[in-house]
Subunit: 224 residues, 2 copies
DNA sequence: CGATTGTTAGAGTAATTACTCTAGGTGTCA
DNA sequence: TGACACCTAGAGTAATTACTCTAACAATCG
């Protein structure tokens, strides 16, 4: 059986994702777990520490896979794997991006950590794009590459917020969840499309079809 | 002299943008204006109503200029004007986008209004893009056009959030504000770049230089 | 003048909420 | 058995904060 500490984190994450961090009190978390507030505060000094720890988890997962493989060239399959992994993680910690503005305002320490995380991730992202260019899967000037990188980052970081703004929580079942996540990947594929070459370009249409579920457009999905 | 009601709205907007809606209490707003809380509540039933009214203002301004001119073709200057106007407005109401997630969670009525607003704006945006295509300034399939539209929307709506996450409030003077706003326009120009044709393509480099202040890249600006 | 309408002050309240404190259980190892 | 570390309960508190209430001021109009 998992430790109380872990269960608190898991429950907090679930509640934050469902209702938003602001609306979920420490007492709610304790109640959901059927433990006392005192117990919760035995494991975490304060609510901030819970958020902080959830961020640490998320950060660690992203850094783990956002690496350029050494000793071999990048393939177009790698590119897809990156997208899948990043958006998957993003989605798991979606409360974080939805309320990023406030969370960082309320905790300067977290702001610095987030800025460092962004810097490192963008740096790694640039390595990946350079690797893809080097492998002949992508053609772009340095300037184009950087603007593409920034746009990709912003889009990824904001996708869950965009979805949540338009789709109220109660409409979001697991089915729609998965669909909208894949739709996010589709949007990023479209972002990169003009710069793709070689094998990546050959598989573009296949990829598009794979992630654009059914014949629905992104807008149709959101506004049904 | 402007009315108390207007001054409350202006002050609330300024404080919300500076500190975030969550951290600014109604008492803060009253204190900043040197009026009593009672006075504030005479003009607004509650805090939600202030936010709601600020959104109404913002919404009205965006809808006012996001129109396709009748009786003439679109020019590339129109395109630039749209970007300037949209991002300008976005910036003015930046607290709204920074805390959109929570604001919509806390007010279902606002969520519906926002969804309607997004739908209408995206619809108008599509008209604009179609107009540009018709004028030979842009070449894209319907599918490409739609994904471009969605990406543009998400990017615009998230730009302020992105900037604010990486640049702490105290570093943000008016100078840097303007620079980062223009940098946002630069990023959107890059997003559209692969699809530009004709005059729009001819002016692309000029536009890029105009909005990419100095020789700094977006990342250098943010992380300096 | 008196009455009415719109506006303001400011003390006060009810509710929320993050967090504390004390006391007591539970398992483990000597 | 007893001691010790770990864990848990739950009542309680201090602070915040959105919001109310009453009284009064000011301008206008009959």
């Amino acid at each position: 059986m998992t430790s109380t500490r872990e269960r608190i984190l898991d429950t907090a994450l679930a509640l934050f994702n469902r209702h938003g961090e602001r609306r979920v009190t420490t007492n709610h978390i304790a109640a959901e777990l059927a433990i006392s507030p005192g117990n919760l505060y035995y494991h975490f000094r304060n609510k901030t520490e819970i958020v902080s720890e959830l961020f640490r988890r998320y950060e660690a997962r992203v850094e783990a896979f956002l690496q350029v493989p050494v000793g071999r060239a990048l393939t177009w399959q790698d590119k897809v794997a990156y997208l899948e992994a990043i958006l998957q993680n993003m989605w798991q910690a979606r409360f974080f991006h939805r309320e990023l503005g406030h969370l960082l305002d309320a905790d300067e320490h977290l702001r610095r950590r987030y800025a460092d995380f962004a810097r490192r991730s963008l740096d790694q992202g640039l390595q990946v794009y350079c690797g893809l260019r080097h492998a002949g899967l992508l053609e772009a000037t340095d300037e184009e590459l950087e603007s593409l990188l920034v746009n990709t980052w912003v889009l990824i970081a904001s996708w869950t917020g965009f979805v949540h703004a338009l789709v109220p929580g109660e409409r979001l079942d697991e089915e729609l969840d998965r669909t909208l996540l894949r739709q996010g990947i589709y949007q990023i594929i479209c972002l990169e499309a003009p710069y793709l070459r070689g094998e990546a370009l050959e598989h573009l249409d296949t990829m598009k079809d794979a992630y654009r579920q059914g014949s629905h457009s992104t807008l149709e999905l959101l506004f049904e």
